[in-house]
């Protein structure tokens, strides 16, 4: 059993990767300039010609694309190949505004599926495995992506799609699935059902690949224990291809970005300035060899950090941390970028509930940040000193995560509004943008 799906490229030296990126980028910019009038206009406006892009060092000369551009160009404005050469459309769930549709030629599908196959191998799968895919199939990229990756690898693929838990469990037991692919929340639910129904000894799962939504290390730990598996994260977005843009390896410490297909940059979400590796900022992707829907410098709005630290798995491609938040949610307090998701992580790991409210205020030109969190029976004590010690531990943990002090205000249970769907987590009283 090989450790890699495509060993040569997955373990290529830095120089080899850069050489591949240089060559592909020059070609790709030319392809986009010639075939996508929408992007050509953006380049012209910035005064950039395709011949100005000679290597990846010139990447920062290119204009950004945002979700707004995708909406404006809907549906065919960013298409770079005739429809007759396209074989597939996938679409984002579109929680806000218009849906985004992405087009694929057979070449594009192949490279996407290869990326997913790399992710499966990194999770320990090979052709002898039975891969149960319970991501949704259809416009959503989850099901088709992992399904395709499993085919490329030659594993036996169970195209379950999402839902119908009874059937999922029956197949898991009867057909002895070894690898589970679904969202982490569904994995947690399946794990609960497996244990409730006493099926733990009857399943053969060894690994899970869970993506398409945010999850914590605590959740990973719980799922791994409940199912007796190793749980791996996978990242992707329809605009760039789908799941498999990056994936975790046996290290479980960041996701390797498939750098022979995608260039990742981290930028300051406010100024657009490119930040050095290791700094936190917005993740930007350039697709190097997709034909039909080749996005250049697409702003994902995901906030994360890149690491070029050598990985013990042998893969040389850069690793990205789990996204820490969305650039849209970012608060700037005393000049420091603060994300609600960071605060949530600290609360959970200190035993407080994830229901919280962040209040940012400014008095005498100084910003203050307060985190309201609900008291629980577990965190309460008859002893004031004990409560204060726990509170101080939380304040210290917040300070070490955020880099600035946040005050903690303990409130009575059920006083912070539970929201259906997207939670209202932040009240900014500073009115910075009011006229």
């Amino acid at each position: 059993m090989s450790k890699y799906f495509q060993e040569q490229i997955e373990t290529a030296s830095r120089d080899e990767i850069i050489a591949i990126q240089n060559e592909k980028l020059v070609k790709q910019v030319k392809h986009v300039y010639e075939n996508v009038p929408y992007y050509r206009a953006k380049m012209d406006e910035k005064g950039v010609r395709p011949e100005d892009i000679k290597s990846i060092d010139d990447l920062r000369k290119l204009p950004f694309l945002s979700k707004d551009d995708l909406r404006e160009a809907y549906p065919y404005g960013l298409l770079a190949k005739p429809l007759s050469e396209c074989v597939r459309i996938q679409s984002t769930s579109g929680t806000t505004g218009r849906r985004v549709v992405a087009f694929y030629t057979q070449h594009d599908i192949d490279l996407w599926e290869e990326c997913c196959a790399r992710a499966l191998v990194a999770a320990g799968a090979d052709k002898n495995d039975v891969v149960q895919v319970c991501y949704g199939y259809g416009l959503f990229t989850g099901g088709p992506g992992l399904n395709g990756g499993s085919h490329k690898l030659g594993s036996l693929t169970l195209p379950m799609s999402s839902g119908n838990t009874d059937r999922q469990l029956q197949f898991m037991v009867d057909l002895q699935s070894t690898v589970l692919c679904c969202t982490p929340s569904y994995a947690a639910y399946l794990a609960e059902c497996v244990n409730e129904r006493g099926l733990r000894d009857k399943i053969k799962l060894k690994a899970g690949i869970f993506g398409a939504e945010a999850w914590t290390e605590e959740m990973r730990h719980d799922i791994e224990n409940a199912l007796g598996i190793k749980a791996y994260d996978i990242y992707g977005l329809t605009e760039i291809s789908g799941p498999g843009v990056s994936f975790e390896c046996s290290e479980q410490e960041g996701m390797h970005i498939n750098e022979d297909h995608f260039i990742a940059e981290i930028i300051n979400p406010v100024t657009g300035e490119v930040l050095p590796d290791g700094e936190k900022g917005e993740l930007v992707f350039t697709s190097l060899d997709k034909e039909a829907f080749p996005l250049l410098r697409y702003r994902t709005r995901d906030i994360c950090v890149l690491s070029r630290k050598k990985c013990s798995c042998g893969r040389t491609h850069v690793r990205m941390a789990k996204p820490m938040g969305r650039s849209d949610d970012m608060l700037i307090v005393r000049g420091v970028n603060v994300f609600p998701s960071q605060i949530e992580t600290v609360l959970i790991s200190n035993g407080y509930p994830a229901n919280y409210l962040i209040i940012v205020d400014r008095q005498k030109n100084t910003d203050s940040i307060e985190v309201q969190v609900e008291m629980t029976n577990e965190m309460f004590s008859d002893d004031l000193n004990t409560i204060h010690a726990r509170e101080k531990k939380l304040v210290d943990a917040l300070k070490s995560m955020l880099g600035i002090r946040a005050n903690v205000h303990l409130v009575a249970p059920k006083t912070i509004e539970r929201s259906e769907g997207k939670a209202k987590r932040v009240i900014d009283k500073r009115n910075l943008y009011q006229n």
């Binding site: 029976n377 309460f380 008859d382 409560i387 409130v411 249970p413």
Partner: protein, 144 residues
């Protein structure tokens, strides 16, 4: 012989204590004694009620954070030095008093101290030996 006090989390804001008193009244929970330890944002309300187990259940169901806490109830006779005797007895045994508060029973015409100490069984033992009358949960219920 020990008693259960209820320790309740309340926010330090106008109306919070009133709301709590209203809920006790609504659920017919009779308070025998009350003491408050306050902090900047919140307070711990410590109450002695007739049936602490039932009251805990009811209060938790209506959304309060409640923790039953073992305490010792001791009778203090109406004469100089009565409290001092209790405190000295504990101090001799190296038992620390975390907090204490008093209440009076109208019917029995007696004053009681509620003591929360570093060693509840030890407190009961040494006070009992030194002639202090301890009260149990049942004895605070007025027969009316």
């Amino acid at each position: 012989m020990s008693m259960q006090q209820l320790s309740v989390f309340l926010e330090n804001k106008p109306g919070a204590l009133g709301e709590f008193a209203k809920d006790l009244s609504r659920y017919h929970i009779n308070m025998r004694a009350l003491s408050i330890a306050e902090s900047r944002d919140f307070g711990i309300i410590r109450v002695i009620v007739d049936d602490p187990y039932e009251a805990t259940r009811i209060l938790r169901e209506s959304g309060y954070i409640v923790q039953p806490t073992p305490v010792v109830g001791a009778e203090v006779s109406d004469e100089p030095g009565a409290l001092l005797h209790i405190l000295e007895t504990l101090s001799e045994q190296n038992i620390n008093v975390d907090y204490t508060y008093a209440f009076v029973s109208q019917k029995k015409n007696t004053a009681y101290m509620i003591l929360r100490t570093s060693d509840i069984p030890g407190t009961e033992k040494v006070l009992g030996k030194s002639g202090v009358t301890l009260i149990g949960q049942d004895e605070i219920v007025d027969e009316d």
